[in-house]
Amino acid sequence: GAPALTLPERAATGTAQRGATLRIARPAASAAETLDPASSLSAYEYLGALYNRVVRLDRDGETVPDLATDWSSNADATVWDFQLRAGIRFHDGRPLTSRDVRYTFRHILDPDVASPQAGALDLIDDIVAVDETTVRFALSTPNAEFPSLLTAYQCYVIPEDSADEIGHTGIGTGPFILEHYTPAGAGAVRVNEDYFDGRAALDRIEFSSIQDTSARVNALLARQVDLLSQTNLDNPTARVVANSAGTTVARVANAQWYTIPMLATSEEFADPQMRQAMKLAYDPNAILSTALQGTGTPGWDNPVPPELKAWLDTEREYDPEKARGILRSIGRENFSTRIYTSAYEPNFTAIATAYASQVREAGIDLRITNVAADSYYTQVWMSEPLMVSYWFTGRPVDQLLNQIFRTGSSYNESAWSNEQFDQLLDAARADTNDTTRRQKYQDAQQLIIDDGADMTPVFGDRLVGLSENVVNYDEYGFEMDYLSLGLKEA
């Protein structure tokens, strides 16, 4: 009989004890990691504790206020004004002004910084500090979804002229103040008593970096830490953690968006029919149950997660026989190739394994090839025809589609190019009417499902290991809820 993987849906809630210290273990990005949010090597876990963004996403993918209270645009959505909250101070006591915001985005757009968000924001023509609390963005093309682009975690606001030292000072406006920090080492933050949104429940958070997944889990089981951040536990581990005394597992629903990009420029997958066969041949439900033991949602090759308002609710057909027929008709019967995977993320191999065993029914033979985690995204990604990849969900729909599916985008991992799709996105951006704009985004999703080169088998819940003492753990929109996170009252 199937063992029930009884994982609690959500972490315990309750009153947090005051004055507590929480210990978080995290995987370090690299020895070169930094606290500069704009960098591609930022120490992600610290950012939400130390900084704020102008606007952020809420649980439903909607843009909501953070440092800005209000925002508005002109009629064709080419000029956007953001009104900042008054009286906010950085940790070093300096007041937050529109100049800091201007500086932050200039910093992101600085080519020397090579920020991953620079591409998404390169439509910004000019940034003006209108007055102390108003900042204005002038865009080169209309974009009705512009505020959502500012929710990325690279867009945390840093003080003016701090670029040189921000990497280790971590001075922001956030609920916690940096105590000390070593790249790829230990660090700690203490509570910001003057936080504008109220004092956080915890007094202090200690971070330690543990690269090896099992070592991280062992640290939790041995009660050396209270929470494993950013770690998606694989299922057996999650079971062990859930069943061990003192530890439990929390889920962040659909946090991991798994993809199987088929390189559209490759000989194997240049043919749309071929790609269609690869999709028809597998059942996302089977992947969900085999690889993730049901902890997630089937994707049906639509990259937009169900949480987003713009989600297109449709289920493409699953028919291995039809897939086999297509393969036969294009002379690709008994198609065989490698599918690459890596220990980079604990579920990659499971998904590759499950996918390969699914498509066998259509006569497709996939040889799973494991590649060292470190070279996976430098040597395999965007160069091998077939692999497993993933993204975090929690980006706004416009950014999601533009960043990952638009022709020529540097994150377009399948190198798919569809003119009609690109035009649809442009049209959506220019459309200030919410309803019709959403329709355009849904049309774009249908295009991806029909012609796209990226398969989205599943959205996986992120399984987070934590101590039973942790209360009010929650995470969405690239940020842990650091305000209410706490330890149970003794």
């Binding site: 210990r23 273990a25 690299s30 020895a31 070169a32 070593t182 790249p183 790829a184 080492g185 230990a186 200690e206 330690s208 970096s209 543990i210 690269q211 090896d212 099992s214 070592a215 991280r216 062992n218 640290a219 089981l221 041995a222 009660r223 050396q224 830490v225 061990s244 060292a372 985690a373 470190d374 430098t378 965007m382 540097s410």
Partner: protein, 329 residues
């Protein structure tokens, strides 16, 4: 005698130089452009060229070797490609951490295994002997990662006596490291003891079978005195290389153990640097390990000189060849 030590020192230096040479050129021969690696796929050609220049990659390879070697001799291995920090600093921290687990492991491991080995050898054929031999056999047949995993399960999770991992990373304090060295050190002791026990056992058996051991016994000496005074000093000679190989292996970075325990030592630095292709660090680790290897061998040679009066006068040192464990992990 002094000349003998002089020759040994000279050969050690040659070995070290050759090792450095190999390491440098092997790393140069790796496919792929370091500059390209660092900048990623989307880097422009000019950027790569600038980077190459910054790294000095466009200079003649021999010139670079000479410069690198010159730096290495003075303890300067350049800066890490990843963190931008001085390699020597990083290396020294990691090495001192490794020493923290290695030295107790070496002291306890060698002492314990020599005693067990002599004990088993002197009671050849008894149940004591079979017991010790069996344990040694099993210990050398179980991979370290299994031992480490089981130790963590038993002594960190089920009975939380010792920490399972080190949280502090490279700048962990001594007070955090001290309790954390116990389990890794035990793992290392188990991994290395088996070979020394076996070597010492068979060497003791050989020693007991010598004419001089029989003669000593027939002089009316107690068995204990025969064993420790007559047999053990010579019996340890063939075991010295086994010990030195194990010690070198242990100090050269115990990759598996350190990665399981998240222990911020040389082994972990090595595996992290392999992942990030941090070549200056890797080169420095290789040279440091070679230095350790050479030093340990030198010490073993000198100890052999001390333990065997014959070697002090006979210039043709008789090479003993019965290595037990050469870098098996």
């Amino acid at each position: 005698m002094a000349r003998l030590i002089g020759t040994r020192l000279a050969t050690s230096v040659i070995t070290l130089f050759l090792a450095a040479f190999f390491v440098f050129f092997a790393v140069q021969a790796l496919p792929g452009d370091v500059a390209q690696q660092l900048l990623g796929q989307n880097a422009t050609e000019e950027a790569v060229a600038t980077m190459r220049e910054q790294l000095g990659l466009d200079a003649n390879v021999w010139v670079r070797f000479a410069e690198w070697l010159g730096g290495a001799v003075t303890g300067d291995f350049g800066t890490s490609l990843v963190s931008g920090e001085s390699v020597s600093g990083t290396l020294w921290t990691a090495f001192s951490h490794t020493l923290l687990i290695a030295v107790p492991a070496i002291v306890v491991g060698i002492g314990l295994s020599l005693v067990l080995g002599v004990w088993a050898g002197s009671r050849r054929g008894t149940s004591t002997d079979s017991g010790i031999s069996l344990i040694a056999l099993v210990a050398m047949s179980i991979p370290e990662f299994v031992v480490a995993t089981v130790l963590i399960l038993l002594f960190a999770i089920i009975a939380p006596i010792f920490p399972a991992v080190v949280l502090g990373g490279p700048d962990a304090s001594l007070s955090e490291l001290l309790p954390a060295i116990v389990l890794p050190a035990i793992t290392l002791v188990i991994a290395m003891a088996a070979y020394i026990i076996r070597a010492m056992r068979s060497s003791t058996i050989d020693g007991l079978a010598t004419e001089y051991a029989t003669t000593a016994e027939l002089k009316g000496l107690t068995r204990r005195r025969v064993l420790w005074r007559h047999v053990a000093p010579s019996a340890i000679l063939p075991v010295l290389p086994v010990i030195s190989i194990n010690v070198a292996w242990l100090l050269g970075g115990v990759v598996v153990v350190e990665s399981v325990f998240n222990y911020p030592g040389l082994g972990k630095l090595m595996i992290d640097s392999v992942s990030t292709r941090d070549l200056p660090i890797l080169q420095a680790i290789a040279v440091l390990s070679a230095l350790v290897y050479v030093t340990v061998n030198l010490i073993a040679d000198l100890l052999a000189l001390a333990a065997d009066p014959r070697q002090r006068t006979l210039h043709s040192s008789r090479r003993r060849s019965r290595p037990a464990k050469e870098a098996s992990a």
